[in-house]
């Protein structure tokens, strides 16, 4: 107990150094947490659109930078539908549009009205648009709330003045912040006749899903089937790059944090060389000295990390309101992010403090006592 108090006393005595090191660690961990939550949330949001409805898997064009840039020929959809084990295949066209500064990424989803139910769309109020309509749409409830629109209101998107004929819910953030309209109407408006962005496939009961996927990919090699989150990288390289950047930031954070801890503890051990000599002369073991120094580093690092996590939450909260991310980015606080932050914290403390702690522990008592 007294040993623990001694460690705390040392941290408290060197307030300025502790605060500066803690601050650096806090900023580092804040970056890791914010970047981690941002990446995870963006991935979750993007992946969620591929999971909408009751489909067994989703199909997109392979190796595009962004899943929304996927372009599938509607004839390919017919090839897919002809597979004997495919129960249904629904094609949608997704087109982003900049409504205004607050809604820079407003999505229009073109879909045949009869496909909305299998896609997982629940009409909350109003009616569906007509199959060949060019000026009717339904709004996700989040979008309707955000845009303050009700059934019967009008919404200008691009150069089309749409009538809001219904409000829907999908249970997915991405879908609920978007709008849906006639597939044919949207294809005509964006001049992409016969083109869809994604296809959602449901296989017949008892069929081998992997076998169906393999057949589709063999028949249409330009397409990729996505069933799990890990498949997502095949159709969206942006998120993979973001994930890689996140890993890079974490590695960099570890190096920066460890360097700071190393700097602080090296200086501390150097300044306190005589102290370690005295402690050894009164019978402290090398292991105790090692723990003494490591524990001090851990306290400063953990305190900094705790502040960093809090700051990370603050940054995420702030990012939520950034116009370019509104409606696209809804924070999801994954335990992976905190596990990573905690691992980096311990990594920083161990890598940064081990050398100074070993140096302190291995000092010869007499040499240490004579240190000026």
């Amino acid at each position: 107990m007294f040993f623990a108090l001694l460690i705390l006393e040392n941290v408290y005595t060197r307030k300025v150094r502790t605060l500066l090191t803690g601050f650096t660690i806090a900023v580092t961990i804040m970056t890791v947490v914010a970047m981690g939550i941002l990446t995870h949330s963006l991935r979750e949001t993007a992946v969620s659109i591929l999971r909408t409805g009751t489909a067994d898997f989703t199909i997109a064009q392979e190796h595009v930078t962004d899943v929304l840039n996927s372009s599938i020929d509607q004839n390919d959809l017919q090839v897919i539908q002809q597979d004997p084990d495919v129960k249904s295949a629904v094609g949608i066209l997704v087109e982003p549009w900049r409504l205004d500064d607050d809604h820079p990424f407003f999505l229009r989803i073109g879909m045949a009205p009869e496909d909305t139910e299998p896609f997982g769309v629940t009409l909350v109020v109003g009616r569906l648009y007509a199959a060949d309509s060019s000026n009717e749409l339904i709004l996700g409830y989040r979008a309707a709330r955000d845009l303050d629109k009700r059934v019967g209101d009008r919404l200008v998107v691009g150069n089309v003045d749409y009538e809001v004929v219904g409000i829907y819910s999908t249970g997915q953030v991405f879908g609920d912040a978007a709008s849906m309209m006639s597939l044919v109407g949207l294809q005509a408006q964006v001049r992409k006749p016969g083109t869809i962005t994604l296809a959602f496939v449901q296989v017949a009961e008892g069929a081998d899903i992997e076998a169906v996927r393999a057949r589709i990919e063999a028949a249409l090699p330009q397409l990729a089937t996505i069933r799990t989150e890990s498949d997502f990288g095949r159709v969206d390289r942006n998120l993979e790059l973001l994930k890689a950047a996140n890993t890079g930031v974490s590695a960099l954070a570890l190096v920066i944090g460890a360097a700071n801890v190393l700097n602080m503890m090296s200086l501390s051990v150097f300044e306190r060389t005589r102290e370690f000599g005295v402690l050894r002369s009164v019978g402290w073991s090398r292991i105790r000295i090692l723990i003494y120094v490591l524990a001090e580093a851990f306290i400063v690092t953990l305190a900094g990390a705790a502040a960093g996590v809090a700051l990370g939450f603050g940054v995420v909260h702030f990012l939520q309101d950034v116009p370019t991310l509104r409606g696209v980015f809804t924070p999801t606080f994954s335990s992976d992010v905190f596990t990573r932050a905690l691992s980096i914290t311990f990594g920083m403390a161990i890598i940064g403090a081990l050398y100074p702690a070993l140096r302190a522990a291995l000092l010869r008592p007499l040499t240490a006592i004579r240190h000026e």
Binding site: M1, F2, F3, L6, E9, N10, T13, R274, E275, G277, V278, L279, R280, S281, V282, G283, W284, S285, R288, R364, P365, L366, I369
Partner: protein, 248 residues
Amino acid sequence: MNDQPAPAIETRHLTKIFQDSHVRAVDGVSLEIGAGEWVALTGPSGSGKSTLLHLLAALDEPTSGDILVNGRNLKSYGNLNHYRSHDVGLIFQLHNLLPNLNALQNVRIAMVGTGVGRRESATRAAELLASVGLAARTKLRPPALSGGERQRVAIARALANGPSILLADEPTGSLDAAAAESVMELFNRIRGERNLTILLVTHDPLVAACADRIIHMRDGRLIDEADATPAARNLVPPWKRAGSQGAI
């Protein structure tokens, strides 16, 4: 069969050669110090007296020879930490207190890892500080204490785990005459109370005169008392002077 108790400290042909300078700081020293004896180790600078003390405190390793403490060879200790914490108490010239800890904490650090409980260590440290006359100064940090008071804290720390031997390296070297005299009186008292064996390195003849026996060193070797300066033999310790109360 020899029923005589083993000497508190015994060295046999103890030698320390510094590898970098090839200096024989301690050159074949053999000595015996009986239990409860107070010995002053004197000699000119560089004579090897501090090196000898450091070897006895297990702060340094001898090049050759043996050190036996209460009959046990230091080479037989698997772990010298216990020896440093329990068998000997060490006092330095510059007290070597930790400046960020108060007097009580400075004494308690010697009890860390010895199995002494938190309350007991606090109680024992307070009692030790009271016994060296610092009952009212326990919460003060070293910068707030006088030189003599700091040395008393160092003495209390050296006694924390009840060693039978006190090794002091110039304990009055940084003190004025009055403080030095007071510290010597304290040494005399605690020796009586605890039956301590004291080996004290000093340059000061007056301090040396407080000891039961004076050992002289020169060039790393013990020399005959007759060859040493006679000054110390004519001096009288403070507690033997007329009018002294023998207490602090």
